[in-house]
Subunit: 120 residues, 2 copies
Amino acid sequence: MSDSEDRADAMFHALSDRTRRDILRRVLAGEQSISRLAASYPMSFAAVQKHVAVLERAGLVTKRRSGREQLASGDVEAVRSVTSMLDELEAIWRGRIDRIDVLLTETPGDPSPTPQPQED
Amino acid sequence: MSDSEDRADAMFHALSDRTRRDILRRVLAGEQSISRLAASYPMSFAAVQKHVAVLERAGLVTKRRSGREQLASGDVEAVRSVTSMLDELEAIWRGRIDRIDVLLTETPGDPSPTPQPQED
DNA sequence: ACAACCTACAACCATTTAGTTGTACGTTAG
DNA sequence: CTAACGTACAACTAAATGGTTGTAGGTTGT
């Protein structure tokens, strides 16, 4: 149903942790094994593994197996899709949105099925 | 210490909830009272109040009192600052960062104070 | 004055999150 | 073969999150 909103939730959530942002920077700069990444942070291997999993679920990172290693790399297209969500917010501010009602969802539960103009 | 990282944490976290993103869209389109906002969502007034507070702490929204109403409006500059964080990630991917070691923080705990080249 | 309205905030609850440790399993090097 | 390495995953804990209800205080209109 709200598929793109689910994706947005996952992406922003993935980016809301500094360790994950740091991991993303590294794997955007170049493929890195999980253990290589884990060595960079003052936490357990499993913790870093989980962070990578969060990034992967959000689509910001992809994994590729090479022998016994798992190589992670960042997906710049996913980063761009987040940027465009923010650009959309900026466009709303500019008032340059054609059909603003499409973006201003009455969201979960939708108490106003009929799109009332909602003026004062 | 990691002041800008704290801010980034707060901003991305604020954006990671669809209700908050929707609220942000509305207040970017124009000032809205909290109760007006609350009427739009299938949750209690207090819940919406908390969401606005999260957005406010992140600096994405500012509040102004007008009589008995509290008017919230979106700060587009804050949105732009998030965009530039993402642009920075994209720049890393392009490999066009001058001093990448500044961005690739050894983060919390910093186990490698001496910036080793870290080649294979 | 008084009722209705808007807001603030505390207390509580269920779920998720970020971290830990421990175990298990495939892979690589001697 | 065996030891060391890289990973996966389950189970657990503490803290944060998103929601609720209830109470209280300032503002507005009649």
